[in-house]
C-alpha cells in the first residue's frame, strides 16, 4: 500500500482533479461528457475534453476513480478506499498501540 500512496498524493495535488472528486461525490457514476460539463459550467474549468480524460486516467491509476462500462457507455465512479491509507497513517490516535499494517 505504501508504494501506491505516492500516486495518491500526486493525484490529489491537482486542483482540477480535486474538483472532479467533488463532483463525483455529489453524484457518483458520470460520463466524461457530464464531468466536463460540470467542470466548465460550475467551476469555470476551461480544460479540453482530452485534458479532463487524462486527469481521470491519473485518478484511476491512484485507485480513486473506477470506470464501468454499461452497454455502449462508460461511467466513472468514486472509490474513496485509497484515502484510508492517509487516515490510517496519521489519524490513529484512537488506537495508539496498533501496529502499522
Amino acid at each position: 500500500m505504501v508504494g501506491d500512496v505516492g500516486d495518491l498524493y500526486q493525484a490529489l495535488a491537482d486542483h482540477t482533479r480535486r474538483l472532479i472528486l467533488d463532483e463525483l461525490t455529489e453524484r457518483d457514476g458520470q460520463t466524461l461528457f457530464e464531468i466536463c460539463g460540470r467542470l466548465a459550467t460550475k467551476h469555470r474549468v476551461g480544460s479540453s475534453r482530452q485534458a479532463i480524460s487524462q486527469h481521470l486516467d491519473v485518478l484511476e491509476a491512484a485507485g480513486l476513480v473506477v470506470t464501468r462500462r454499461q452497454g455502449r457507455y462508460k461511467f466513472h465512479h468514486l472509490d474513496t478506499r485509497p484515502l484510508r491509507a492517509v487516515t490510517e497513517r496519521w489519524l490513529r490516535s484512537a488506537a495508539p498501540t496498533q501496529e502499522n499494517p
Binding site: R27, Q30, T31, L32, F33, E34, G37, R38, T41, K42, R49, R72, Y73, K74, F75
Partner: protein, 128 residues
C-alpha cells in the same frame, strides 16, 4: 439564410419514427420514399413550421464509428429544449428511456442526457 433542417443518424427509420413520435412527442412532417430509404422528418407540435428533424440512416460506415465514439464518452449528438427538465426526465423514464445523465443544474441551464434507442444520445435543456 436560416436553419430549416437538422439530422440525427438512426440505425432504423421505422424504429426511429416510433421513438421520436410516440415517446418524445414529435409529429411526422415529411415521409417520402427515396430509393432504399425515406426522406423522413419530424417537427415539434409547438412549431409545425419550424426546424425539421431528419431521421437520417446511419448507413455510411463512418457514421457508426462516429456514433460509438460519442456514446462511449457520453456526448449527445444534439439538444432539444424543454420547459421542465425534471418533469420531462420523469415522464421519459416512466416510458423506459435510459438516461446517461440525470438532470444537472449547470448555471443558466439544466440538462439531462438520454439514449434515443437509435444509437444516439440526446440532451434536453431548460434555460432560465
Amino acid at each position: 439564410m436560416r436553419i430549416n433542417l437538422t439530422s440525427v443518424y438512426v440505425d432504423d427509420q421505422d424504429k426511429a419514427l416510433r421513438f421520436y413520435t410516440e415517446v418524445l412527442g414529435f409529429v411526422p412532417k415529411t415521409d417520402v420514399p427515396t430509393g432504399e430509404y425515406r426522406w423522413l422528418t419530424v417537427v415539434s407540435p409547438d412549431a409545425p413550421d419550424g426546424v425539421e428533424l431528419l431521421l437520417e440512416p446511419d448507413a455510411h460506415p463512418a457514421a457508426k464509428a462516429f456514433k460509438e465514439a460519442l456514446a462511449a464518452d457520453g456526448i449527445p449528438l444534439t439538444q432539444f429544449a424543454v420547459d421542465d427538465v425534471a418533469a420531462e426526465h420523469d415522464r421519459l423514464r416512466s416510458l423506459g428511456v435510459l438516461f446517461t445523465q440525470e438532470p444537472v443544474d449547470m448555471g443558466p441551464v439544466t440538462t439531462a442526457v438520454f439514449d434515443d434507442t437509435c444509437g444516439n444520445l440526446i440532451q434536453i435543456a431548460q434555460y432560465r
